[in-house]
Subunit: 227 residues, 2 copies
Amino acid sequence: MPCEPPRCAACSARSEGLCGTFSGGEITALFAIARQRRAPAGQVLLWAGEPASFCATLVTGVLKIARQDAEGREQIVGLLFPGDFVGEPFAGACVDSVVALSDADLCVYPRAPLEHLLEAHPPATRLLLRRALSTLTAARRWILTLGRRNARQKVASFLLEMATRSTQGDRLELPLSRGAMGEALGLTIETVSRQMTALVRAQVIELAGHRGVRLLNRAQLATLATL
Amino acid sequence: MPCEPPRCAACSARSEGLCGTFSGGEITALFAIARQRRAPAGQVLLWAGEPASFCATLVTGVLKIARQDAEGREQIVGLLFPGDFVGEPFAGACVDSVVALSDADLCVYPRAPLEHLLEAHPPATRLLLRRALSTLTAARRWILTLGRRNARQKVASFLLEMATRSTQGDRLELPLSRGAMGEALGLTIETVSRQMTALVRAQVIELAGHRGVRLLNRAQLATLATL
DNA sequence: CGTAGTGTTGAAGTTGCTCAATCTTTGTGG
DNA sequence: CCACAAAGATTGAGCAACTTCAACACTACG
């Protein structure tokens, strides 16, 4: 059995996402078309309207998927975390822009060879289908939040969503600024800020700098998210 | 070559969706596991929380995919039209309910045999992936509408979206009541109604009964949807 | 230690929601 | 075929929530 490339063996996303469907021997084929890429915070990886030249596995960092209004106002329609698959195979031009919110490491696959590889390796296509369906479910959860919840509930929901992605104990480091939270929640910066302050006053959270949040009462936060 | 079942040959959804990936000979395998089902308007096909026992191709009619708030308020997160694929293969329990908005005909596939068939027929899995990705794109367009547009723009967007699905000339028959439109747009019945009236007064549309709409000025409607 | 970028707070203005009454449409039974 | 009932839609008035505009405070980084 051919041996697994050392870089893959050491990769923190090795068992996640696309890579997880390739065995130690098979991964060589994926590795052969992959290229490492490091993106600083703020860098645009894919531009809406441009042809989608590559897909990738996100190794470290957080990306936003955003769409622009006719007026230029931006709405965040998805976030990507380590292990997530970036881009759309089989798609034409990008509909959304993908931007790094923090410094990020990616394992990039050019579109054409990736699509060939998918044809040859059915489990990968099935995984992408399952991923797409679960992303769809998440997008619909977001639709529910945007359509039915008020500002308080939106902010509380968002904090809980972030908490499921990454917490160390009750400490949470937000990957987004207040402005970006507003873009995600369909609120203004000011409204997000006021709701955060209200949560602090209600002793549900505590702030530590602009990005740091300590969850003091998760049960209460969950109640506020829906009620 | 084995001949195509007459029911498939005569089916208006034959070239659409899942069926379209099966040739005249191959379709027999899909037909063998399929069962016809007719659902009257209002019938719940899949209940949120219940196990998802089947998938289907929608042949005629319109279905809504809806999700409930903790408070019981409903948000429509998707609509299904003839040719669309109903349900989620590889999923556990249903997250959303699926309800017939009009009388509907379906071609129903039990989950287990369908999943076997998908494994044996890779083009079908690829089609479902492409479909899932385009449904995701549509869901994200909806997120943009819910997050960034006011009531006027939401209603105008919705009418345009419906117009892309089915129009005869400038006549459009809405598959939803005002109440259901509100559930889809995150608005109340009253607000939807007021916006419709405003569009009539602006001579952009004309109403014919509760469900009938005539599009008098599509360009203007498109402007109102985004501006 | 200063400055630029972010975040917070306040006051006033708009938008969409709630509650309540009235009007249309549609479908059913006489 | 018409009358009537029930469901759905429209309209109005008052109110609450979110946005806008503007000033000020924090924090993080050079």
